[in-house]
């Protein structure tokens, strides 16, 4: 039983990270119908920005809560700016073009960021400084939860509530919802759609960066290619929950995290090698596409001619 609870905790932890990243995907898709391939790399950028901030501001020396907060917020801000820059310079000019063009551009941006980091920083993994005094708390039996896991839960929930508040209780949020409903009508209503789109990218990127810093506390190994697989799985999470649907992204993230952990933890008993961990996400994607393409919480969108 305690193993089960342990796996549960593990699964929800990585699920929370997927959820944070999936939110960015879903928000951007909701507004622009664009899969922002580069989003997973923002997660990586967040982790690296946090890494450099920690060293520059001297927090790398030892664990400190202040350091953690500063690094977290700092990397979120920088990532938001990066996200907005990408939107402004790579996506906005081709917004009117065919879907394929924007897709290819998105891939190009993603690869550009990854390879730039590899070329400048090397592909070798680095160790993110320990900003949290790590400790494990036993729940019962063998099941333990570590401080970094608690941190991930706490911060994710906080950020998601914050996002919820922004979207439903502020003018900007209402504008975002309007734009995702129908971009042209929103424009007619006088909403500055370009600005709203920028804000969406900024929010999504900030969340992804937070995910990056939090993961780095949990697993200090950061490298320029860490965003690829994680980003892909987060995208599957967004699709699972219903792309364009915000609670769906959270649900999808948690489900993918759990599915992955349980396949790894118990899969051997039914003959699934643990290396199929990543394949789980894709298997889920195929199943979703086959049986419920709009996702768990999504609704069918009528495509107007």
């Amino acid at each position: 039983m305690d193993t089960f609870v342990q796996q549960l905790i593990n699964g929800l932890t990585i699920g929370a990270i997927y959820a944070l990243i999936a939110l960015g995907y879903t928000m951007v898709y909701g507004i622009l119908r664009l899969i922002n391939f580069a989003h997973g790399d923002i997660y990586m950028v967040g982790a690296f920005v946090g890494y450099f901030l920690a060293f520059q501001l001297g927090f790398a020396a030892g664990p400190s809560l202040v350091g953690l907060v500063v690094v977290l917020i700092g990397s979120m801000v920088v990532a938001a700016l990066v996200g907005m820059a990408i939107e402004r310079f790579a996506y906005r000019p081709i917004r009117k073009y065919a879907r394929m063009t924007t897709l290819i551009t998105a891939i190009g941006v993603s690869l550009f960021i990854e390879n730039l980091f590899v070329a400048r920083l090397g592909a070798a993994p680095r160790a993110f400084p320990q900003l949290l005094r790590e400790q494990s708390y036993t729940l019962f039996g063998n099941a333990a939860i570590s401080k970094s896991q608690i941190l991930i839960f706490a911060v994710s929930i906080l950020l998601m509530l914050l996002l919820q508040w922004i979207i439903f209780k502020t003018k900007v949020g209402t504008a975002m919802r309007a734009v995702s409903f129908n971009l042209n009508s929103a424009k007619l209503m006088g909403i500055n759609t370009d600005a709203i789109i920028s804000v969406t990218f900024a929010l999504g990127s900030a969340l992804a960066a937070a995910g990056g810093v939090l993961t780095a506390q949990y697993n200090p190994q950061i490298d320029p290619l860490m965003g690829i697989i994680t980003g892909l799985k987060a995208f599957v999470a967004a699709v699972l929950g219903g792309i364009g649907n915000i609670p769906g992204a959270v649900l999808g993230g948690l489900l993918i995290g759990l599915a992955e952990t349980f396949v790894v933890g118990y899969g051997q008993n039914v003959g699934i090698p643990t290396t199929f961990r990543d394949a789980v996400a894709f298997a889920i994607l195929i199943l979703v596409l086959l049986f419920r393409p709009t996702g768990l919480l999504g609704s069918t969108v009528q495509e107007k001619v």
Binding site: T3, Q6, Q7, N10, G11, T13, I14, I17, V118, A119, G122, A123, A124, P125, R126, A127, Q130, E134, S136, T138, N142, A144, S146, T215, Y218, N219, P220, Q221, D223, L225, M226, I228, I229, T230, E260, T261, F262, V264, G265, Y266, Q268, P273, T274, T275, R277, D278
Partner: protein
């Protein structure tokens, strides 16, 4: 259709015209100019840290040799090519190095997969190739022009199994391997074999892939089977974190590993969680022996970081090659091959290197304990048929009372 065919014809003829050459050209240059040696490795891809480390070792050795006057009066030039970590490119760059750059010998590659793709080219062209760190047995089986200066998997896997069973008296072992890595799988295979022969039992086997963020799923499963030791024959990037997460899960059993653990980042990632773990290695960077410390401090001075096992192996590979060239008195393929094959007891920083009939390096392995960011010598394990007199420089120095107390004295 006509226009397409026209275009195709145009492109193809341009290609061929450009590539054309007269057949039956001159052979490999042999005279008195600089000795051109080719190095190939992953310099820009996912495993570029390995390729770069090895290259750094090779370059440092080459510079040392040149400063000391070169080999037989000729200076050494290293031409390095990037294979991006892809076997197809490895074969392409080796073809280029042999064919276009007329190298007299090749150094590379780190990953057995890439070496296996490229080695047949060297063998066919009769250009000797020394791999610094490809550990798969199949590599040297490609042909008699292919050598290596590192252990092969069967040996290293066995080393840890022996240590676990004989010294640590472990009865149950679990394994956590890097699934994508032939190195890790090779070590696992032979560890399993040896350990069970010695009476032990493998209670659980889990795997991960490089880039995984989370190992708790596998570690939890391992924890439930209560092993005495856990063999983790992977690379430092993941192992550091595995050690940490194992500690978080309350796993008390020591982790065992191989030379893939050896890098400064291991400590940065794993911290104190690594205390009490053991690895098999060619040498120890903390070994006080003068030869090794000289190497470490020179490397540190040149590259501002401590050398890892790959850099040390690259360094030795270059020096073994240079030694071969010196003894052969020539850079002609077959002569050089014969000279290299006769390498016996060459004093490398990674041990006394002797090449056996299969062109693999026969040298003892040291088992080291990880404690407080240092490696503490435990014992030396010799290959079959080799005794203490063939001990590496590392093994002949004891590293303190702790080591001497619980290790069989190699003297």
């Amino acid at each position: 259709m006509k226009r397409i065919s026209l275009a195709l014809l145009l492109i193809t003829s341009l290609l061929f015209a450009f590539a054309c050459e007269r057949k039956g050209g001159p052979g490999v240059g042999n005279g008195s100019g600089p000795i051109v040696i080719g190095y190939y490795g992953d310099l820009s891809g996912r495993t570029s840290n390995f390729g770069q480390s090895t290259k750094e070792g090779v370059l440092m050795a080459a510079d040392e040799i040149n400063t000391a006057g070169g080999i037989n009066g000729r200076q050494v030039t290293i031409l390095s090519e990037d294979d991006e970590g892809r076997p197809e490119k490895a074969a392409t760059v080796v073809t280029k190095l042999i064919d276009q750059d007329r190298v007299v010998a090749l150094l590379g590659e780190v990953a057995s997969g890439n070496t296996l793709a490229a080695a047949p080219k060297a063998q066919a062209a009769k250009v000797p190739m020394i791999s610094p760190s490809s550990t798969n047995p199949a590599v040297t089986q490609v042909g008699d022009f292919i050598f290596r200066v590192c252990f092969i998997d069967p040996f290293q896997g066995e080393v840890m199994a022996k240590f676990a069973a004989n010294t640590l008296k472990a009865k149950k072992a679990a394994i956590m391997l890097d699934f994508n890595s032939p190195y890790s799988r090779g070590l696992t295979e032979f560890f399993e074999k040896s350990f069970t022969t010695l009476g032990g039992q493998i209670v659980n086997k889990q795997s991960y892939t490089q880039g995984d963020r989370d190992y708790k799923g596998q570690l939890t499963a391992i924890r439930s089977t209560n092993p005495d030791v856990i063999y983790v024959p992977g690379y430092y990037g993941e192992v550091g974190v595995i050690a940490k997460q194992a500690q978080q899960l309350g796993i008390k059993a020591p982790l065992l590993g191989g030379d893939g653990w050896d890098a400064t980042q291991l400590w940065e990632l794993g911290g104190d969680a690594l205390n009490g773990d053991f690895i098999s290695n060619h040498y120890s960077v903390d070994d006080p022996s003068p030869a090794i410390q000289k190497f470490v401090s020179q490397y540190q001075g040149r590259y501002s970081k401590r050398p890892d096992a790959l850099a040390a192996l690259g360094y030795d590979a270059m020096r073994v090659l240079a030694d071969g060239i010196k003894r052969a008195g020539s850079t002609e393929g077959t002569k050089l091959r014969d000279a290299i094959a006769q390498t016996q007891k060459f004093p490398g920083v990674t041990g006394l290197i002797s090449l056996d009939a299969q062109r693999n390096a026969v040298k003892p392995a040291v088992v080291l304990k990880l404690q407080d960011r240092k490696y503490i010598y435990q014992e030396t394990i010799y290959p079959e048929g080799m005794g203490p007199e063939a001990a590496a420089p590392a093994a002949t120095s004891s590293a303190g009372p702790v080591a001497a107390a619980n290790s069989p004295s190699p003297k």
